[in-house]
């Protein structure tokens, strides 16, 4: 493909991404400011009105909202997400501390999700209405219908407390355990890098239930789409031709799969975006020290900067993953590309 096309396309998408992020920043800014400021919470109830006024001025919350917004966007453009009013730490540092845990969980959830949805979707498409199809659809509907935190609680109850196969939900590692030396921040990966197999296996056990929770509750749309697009593909002319030529069933299925992957890829990307968002409640149930839990705590404390930071991060991930999926599908499917020119 011509380079000019790719550059123009990328430029357009990136511009759209920036605009979308700006929109998100505006919405979150307005919503958090509507709730009120945290000055009373920070100072406590016995503080005098003078003290409150002094702190409000110091934090800049007595400036007119437009001025606060301009300051906020100005900082944002320089990569400065502000400072938590409580911990006094830079929000970028706090997020950098916690995001790897969320990413680890989301990637594990996505991996398990693809592992069960795509094969099942392909199998179900072989005989629509058959038992595989019915069972897989039942699982998918269950996964979609049940709130993720509730499913997490069921898993905890059954596997941690009744059967004792999984550890109690106290986070990524045993209580009081020392995490492996930090390289990626993802405990499973870091344990492996450090060659610490016992920590690695312990971390995997802690990761299992929350990852399964996400895989079951977030990924059913992938199954549904794999099934549908596989059915469509199997009815395609080229499949009929291939069959007519007597190609083996496996080869025919592979052709069909390749052709049905494009929408599945896009759906997977979208699902990943949702899945990152879904970690919020799952992290709470499993005491998982990621950004979801961090944002919940920050919201309760009316700590604006972290809330804005986390929401922007989530939106950026979503936009980025979506963009990547589009680029990949354009690369593998010329028809998508043509639609763009």
């Amino acid at each position: 493909m011509r380079r000019g096309f790719w550059l123009r396309y990328l430029g357009r998408r990136l511009l759209a991404a920036v605009l979308a992020l700006f929109g998100v920043a505006v919405i979150v800014f307005v919503v958090t400011r509507l709730l009120g400021d945290p000055v009373e919470l920070i100072l406590g109830q016995r503080a005098t009105p003078e003290q409150a006024a002094q702190l409000r001025a110091k934090l800049g919350y007595d400036d007119p909202l437009p001025q606060q917004f301009v300051r906020y966007i100005g900082d944002l453009v320089q990569g400065d997400l502000g400072v938590s009013n409580y911990t006094q730490r830079a929000v970028t540092d706090e997020i950098a501390d916690r995001f790897p845990a969320t990413l680890e969980l989301a990637l594990a959830g996505m991996f398990l999700g693809l592992l069960w949805t795509i094969p099942l979707g392909v199998l179900a498409a072989q005989r629509p209405g058959g038992w595989v199809d019915r069972v897989s659809r039942a699982i998918a509907e269950f996964g979609l219908a049940i709130p993720n935190f509730f499913f997490g609680l069921l898993l905890i109850l059954l596997f941690a407390y009744v059967l004792g196969w999984a550890p109690a939900p106290v986070g990524e590692l045993d209580i009081g355990a020392t995490p492996p030396p930090r390289v990626t921040g993802m405990v499973v990966v870091d344990a492996l890098l450090a060659g610490d197999l016992s920590t690695f296996s312990s971390a995997l056990k802690y990761l299992a239930l929350p990852a399964i929770t996400l895989a079951v509750t977030s990924c059913p749309p992938i199954l549904a789409l794999t099934r549908t697009s596989m059915i469509t593909a199997l009815r395609g002319d080229y499949v009929r031709s291939a069959r007519a030529f007597g190609l083996p069933q496996r080869t025919v299925r592979w052709y069909a799969l390749k052709n049905s992957l494009v929408p599945v890829l896009t759906m997977s990307a979208m699902t990943f975006g949702f899945l990152v968002g879904n970690t919020v409640l799952v992290e709470t149930v499993f005491s998982w020290p990621g950004v979801g839990l961090y944002s919940v705590q920050s919201m309760q404390r009316f700590d604006y900067a972290p809330v804005l930071g986390v929401v922007l991060l989530g939106s950026a991930i979503y936009i980025l993953v979506y963009l990547l999926a589009d680029l990949i599908s354009m690369a593998i499917d010329p028809r998508v590309r043509e639609g763009q020119t």
């Binding site: 709730l35 009120g36 945290p38 009373e40 919470l41 920070i42 100072l43 406590g44 109830q45 016995r46 503080a47 005098t48 003290q51 409150a52 409580y86 911990t87 006094q88 730490r89 706090e94 501390d97 916690r98 845990a101 709130p147 935190f149 509730f150 609680l153 905890i156 941690a160 407390y161 009744v162 059967l163 004792g164 196969w165 999984a166 550890p167 109690a168 939900p169 106290v170 986070g171 990524e172 045993d174 209580i175 009081g176 355990a177 020392t178 312990s202 056990k205 802690y206 709470t284 149930v285 005491s287 020290p289 990621g290 839990l293 919940v296 705590q297 919201m299 309760q300 404390r301 009316f302």
Partner: protein, 558 residues
Amino acid sequence: MHSTEQPAPTRRWRIGGVVAAMAATLTLAACGGGSDGDSKPSTAAGGDGGSSGGGSGTLTIGVSSDPQTLDPEWGQAHRANETIKNLYGQWTRYEVIDNGDGTLKADLTKDPIGEAIESYSLSDDGKTVTIKLRPDAKLPDGEPITADTFLFKVERALEMNAGSVFDFNILGITKMSQVKKVSDSEIQFSLPNPSPIVGPMLRDQDAGIVDPKLVKEHMTDDDPWGTEWVAQNGAPTGAYVIEKYEPGRQLVLKANPNYWGEKPNFDRVVLQVIPDEGQRAQLLRQGSIDIAADMSTDAIARLDGASGVRVHSVEAISQHQLGLVNDKPPFDDARIRQAIAYAIPYQSLVDNVMGGRAATPKGVWPQNSAWFDESVEWPYATDPEKAKQLLAEAGAENLEFTVQISDGDADAQALAVPIQSALRDIGVTMNIEKVAAARFSKNLTKRSMQAWMQSGLGAYVDDPYYMAYLSHASTAVINWTNYKNDVVDGITEELSRTVDRDRRQELATELQAALNQDVPIIPLAEPNWMLPTREDIEGVLWEPDGLMTYRLLKRAGG
């Protein structure tokens, strides 16, 4: 009901129970509670590492969140306050009474005694406080604690003008010239008026001393008191210091090797963040943690009787309250406030909402306060007829009002429903409005609501002046009902300069009589302070602040 952290401002007035927040977590909790069934000790994967409070020297506490800050000057919220109390050496402490059942309680009938200091005494005119320091007290690094250590603390509090400044301002100390170093081992405060609450105020956790050397190393031009560093790292001087802090995961404390007082029973305390209340309860049942902190009354009730678990329960001085804003209709008429007070189903609230672990109120003044006078009349037994009669006298027909409750206050929400139906029986409509915790706080400050309900309100200091100054006087900072009574204001003024104990008791009695007559606030129930632990945990100390003292906790037979 459940949840992650206590967002409500909880300073002097601790909002008890815990507190929830997000609707989602609420649902979670409900469900966690449903999982009451059998819990077996986890021999599973989770059990293998260093889990469980099993290690003889380690105490594991499941907490709802990280401490909001480690800087005592900024300590306001419950989790931060408790951490600060255990990390920073307080000037004084209450003497301790052993209840004989594994629990201890602060002896409120006596003045606090020296802790980081050796002793303090007031001059005859009550305006000079002489503080003698311990010759042997050391900072964690082994350097001696001297007069300069204390002066540095006072100066830091005054200059930063954050929450902790209250401890000194209420004594009348507003500038450093009132704080004099007499020698390395003696300090003097000059107060504008005699103050009866020097000992209790210096006991406050946020009055605790910081390690001056550590703080000074991190002071910069932008941050002249090093608060950015202290908030994240702490500068401890107390029974425990920080071994490691992984925000969002755990805070591990270890015994301060140079602590001057009695050695803590546990060498290590692990504060493990378990944001969901239901999970904390389950982990306690299963023995993975020794103590489940930050629990609502409801969750504690469900832990009652669980095998291996013990719910410690100590009579306290806090109250669940219904505040009626006095200076606007309809509650500007005392008869209407009294009518509401007659309509409250006190016994049923204690039995059915508080699981029996509370007392019915005997006055606006808490009955376990050392200053409570039983002879003061409290006529408001549940009497709907009397209530209707008062409403008729006041000419209030089809009375309707709205009560605001913080969305983080599970106990208040639970109390509101039976009260709503009791009021309906006397023809009063009470609308319940749940608001976000921070918004609730703001509305209290602005006195913008008609009525509010809060659980677990209790004064950190059991003293009539303190209580009057903080909540009942017309100018009081947390007089959230805008109550104004000249008699009460007069009593408050006299209390501020009276040190004679007998006279103070007389004034406290007059104050109680006025409050019971006016009912600016209706006490709903007086809850016990409760802490669910594994059954082998003893040495659970209740103090008016409701914050645990880790130093005294121990394992039975351990």
